[in-house]
Amino acid sequence: MRILITIQKNSVAPRFDLTTEVLIALCEGQKVLGKPRTVLMTRPSSEELCALIIKENINTVICNGIEESHLQYLAWKKMRVIDSVVGPYSEALKAVTGGFLRSGTVLPGAKQGDGK
C-alpha cells in the first residue's frame, strides 16, 4: 500500500491546496517498508498535487482540510482519502498502518504539552 501524507514541518499540513511538501511511504501490513521519502513541490497547487498522487500510484491519502472537488476527484480515481487529520505525521502513519486512522482524528501529540 502506498500512502501519501501532506505535511508541514512535523505535522499533517492544515490544507491540501496549500501544501508544498508530502511524505510518501510504502507499507505492507502494519510495517513501513524502507524509509519514507519526502517530495517538495515547487508551489502549492491542488491540481499538481493530484497529478503527483496519480503518478505515484498512491492508495491512501492522508490530509487535513480538503475541498470537495479534490476529494471527489481522488475518490473517483479510487483513492482512499482520510481527511481532517490533525497531529504529527509520524502518528498518522502509525495509525493508518495500524488500521485505526479515521477522518476527523486529532492524533496524540497534536496538543501542546502532549507527551511532556
Partner: protein, 472 residues
C-alpha cells in the same frame, strides 16, 4: 448588591460569552494554541471544542490568511487589532470566505497574553456581490400577482413572531427561499439558519444529525457530536420535506417543540435548546395524518402558522416577469447578449403549465440561453418537451393544492381548478388530451389550423382526435 453582581460576573464562563456570538470566535494563547472556541466555530470546522483545545489554531481553522501564524504574532507583538479577508476549509469541504478580526488580550501590565479571533462568514455577501443580487432575501423573491402580494404581506407577520411555521407548496415554488427570508427578517437573524432535508438521510443517521450523539453511542461514534438543534441555538432550524420524517423521530421532534429539550443519541443528560422551527413539505400532511403516516399532534404543533406558496400557474403575470428576470440573469452570467423572446417562444413559454414551477422555468430559460445563438430566443431554442408537449406531459395525480388558511384548516383542490390549462386528473390521458384540445381551440377562437399548430400536430391529427372525443 454590588458585591453580588461582582460575584455573578466572576462566575460567567468565557464559553457562555463566546457561544452568544453568532459567528466563529476563538481565543488563543501566546503559543497560538486554542484555549476556547464557540459552537459556531465547531459547526464551521467540524472539530469539537474538547478536541481543539491546546491544538495550534492553524490546524483547526485551516485558513489561508497568508501565513496566519505570522499575522497572529504581529498582533501579539504590536498589540494592535487587524482585520483581513480570507477563507477556511469547512467540515463539509467547502471553501468559505471569511472576514477575520484578530485582537490582542492584554494583562494588567499592558502586555499581550493572547488573542481573540473573530471569524465572520461573508459567503452570502460574496455570492450576492458576484451575482449582482440583493442581500435581502425577500427581494430575491419575485412576483406581483395577487397571490404573491398576499404572501408578501404575511411575511413580516411571520417573521416577527417566534411560533413554528409550516410552509407548503408544490416542488419548485420557493419554500427554501421563503424560510430563509423569514429567518433573515426575524430577531434571530444574527444567529444560525440551519437547513436539513428530512427525506435525504436514513432514520438512524437523521436522528444523530438532528440531536447529536455521545461518544460510544453506536459503532463509529468515536467522539461527541453536537446535533443540528444544538448548533442552531438561538437561531432557526429549517426542516424541509418534513412529511418524510420517520414516525419515531416525529415523537422526538414533538417533545423538542413542547419542552425545548432533548436527549442526544446515547446521552443521559438532557440538552436545552432555544430554536425556532420552520418546516416545509410538498406533501399533503393532512392526508398523511389520515393514513397514519404523520402524527396528528405534531401536525397541529407545526401548523401554528401556515404559509402556502402558490404554484406558478396560479400566479397571473408572474411567468412573464420571471422569464425576463432569468433571461437578464443568465445573459449576465453566461456573457450573452440576448434581448428578447420571439413571439412564438413567448407564446409557448407563457402557456406552459410548469409542473416544476419556478425551478423548472429557471432551468428552461437557462437551457434556452445556452442554446440560443442569436439576439432573440426562438422556439428552436426551447427544450423539445415544450415544443411537443403531448409527448411529455405528465400529470401527478397526488399533487394537490392547498390554500392559505389562517385558521389552520386545509382545503384541497385539484390542480385543474386553478390551472389556466385545465388538466382533469380523474379521467386519465383521454381527459387530459381532450382538455388541451378545448383549450387550444378556445385560444384560437375555434381556428383549427392555429389550434393544431399550438398542439404541435398536423390538421389531420387534430381532426381525427376531434372526432374521437366527439368535439366536432
Amino acid at each position: 448588591m454590588r458585591s453580588t453582581e461582582t460575584a455573578f460576573f466572576d462566575k460567567i464562563k468565557i464559553i457562555e460569552i463566546l457561544n452568544g456570538i453568532p459567528h466563529g470566535a476563538v481565543i488563543l494563547d501566546r503559543d497560538l494554541c486554542i484555549v476556547e472556541m464557540n459552537s459556531s466555530l465547531e459547526l464551521l470546522t467540524g472539530f469539537a471544542v474538547s478536541e481543539a483545545k491546546r491544538v495550534r489554531a492553524d490546524f483547526i481553522l485551516r485558513c489561508n490568511i497568508g501565513k496566519s501564524e505570522k499575522l497572529f504574532r504581529k498582533v501579539l507583538e504590536t498589540g494592535e487589532s487587524l482585520s483581513v479577508e480570507g477563507n477556511i476549509i469547512t467540515q463539509d469541504h467547502k471553501n468559505k470566505p471569511i472576514h477575520f478580526t484578530v485582537s490582542p488580550f492584554r494583562n494588567d501590565d499592558g502586555n499581550s497574553v493572547g488573542l481573540f479571533v473573530f471569524l465572520e462568514d461573508i459567503s452570502i455577501s460574496h455570492s450576492f456581490d458576484q451575482r449582482g443580487f440583493s442581500s435581502d432575501g425577500v427581494k430575491d423573491i419575485l412576483g406581483h400577482s395577487s397571490k404573491m402580494l398576499e404572501m408578501f404581506e404575511l411575511l413580516p407577520v411571520l417573521a416577527h413572531t417566534d411560533a413554528s411555521v409550516l410552509i407548503t407548496g408544490e416542488t419548485g415554488t420557493g419554500k427554501d427561499l421563503i424560510a430563509e427570508a423569514i429567518h433573515k427578517a426575524s430577531k434571530r437573524s444574527r444567529y444560525p439558519f440551519i437547513k436539513i432535508n428530512c427525506g435525504a438521510l436514513p432514520e438512524a443517521l437523521l436522528e444523530s444529525e438532528l440531536f447529536g450523539h455521545v461518544r460510544g453511542a453506536f459503532t463509529g461514534a468515536v467522539k461527541d457530536k453536537p446535533g443540528l438543534f444544538r448548533l442552531a441555538q438561538d437561531g432557526t432550524i429549517f426542516l424541509t420535506e418534513i412529511g418524510d420524517l420517520p414516525l419515531s423521530l416525529q415523537v422526538k421532534l414533538l417533545s423538542v417543540l413542547d419542552d425545548r429539550e432533548f436527549f442526544p443519541v446515547g446521552g443521559v443528560k438532557k440538552e436545552k435548546v432555544n430554536v425556532r422551527i420552520i418546516a416545509a413539505t410538498h406533501r399533503a400532511l393532512r392526508e398523511l395524518v389520515k393514513r397514519g403516516e404523520f402524527r396528528e399532534d405534531l401536525f397541529y404543533r407545526l401548523n401554528v402558522l401556515r404559509l402556502h406558496l402558490p404554484a406558478l400557474r396560479e400566479r397571473d403575470g408572474d411567468i412573464r416577469l420571471l422569464l425576463d428576470y432569468f433571461l437578464r440573469k443568465f445573459n449576465t452570467s453566461l456573457n450573452k447578449s440576448i434581448k428578447e423572446y420571439s413571439g412564438k417562444a413567448t407564446e409557448i413559454l407563457t402557456s406552459y403549465h410548469y409542473p416544476g414551477n419556478v425551478r423548472e422555468l429557471r432551468n428552461i430559460v437557462e437551457y434556452a440561453v445556452h442554446i440560443c445563438r442569436g439576439k432573440s430566443v426562438k422556439k428552436e431554442c426551447l427544450p423539445d418537451y415544450l415544443v411537443s408537449p403531448l409527448m411529455d406531459m405528465e400529470v401527478n395525480e397526488e399533487q394537490d393544492v392547498k390554500q392559505i388558511d389562517t385558521e389552520g384548516g386545509v382545503q384541497s383542490k385539484p390542480v385543474a381548478d386553478k390551472a389556466e390549462h385545465a388538466v382533469p386528473i380523474d379521467g386519465g390521458w383521454r381527459d387530459v388530451e381532450k382538455g388541451m384540445i378545448i383549450d387550444a381551440l378556445k385560444k384560437t377562437g375555434g381556428n383549427r389550423s392555429k389550434a393544431a399548430l399550438i398542439l404541435g400536430w398536423g390538421r389531420t391529427t387534430l381532426w381525427r382526435k376531434l372526432n374521437r372525443y366527439s368535439l366536432n
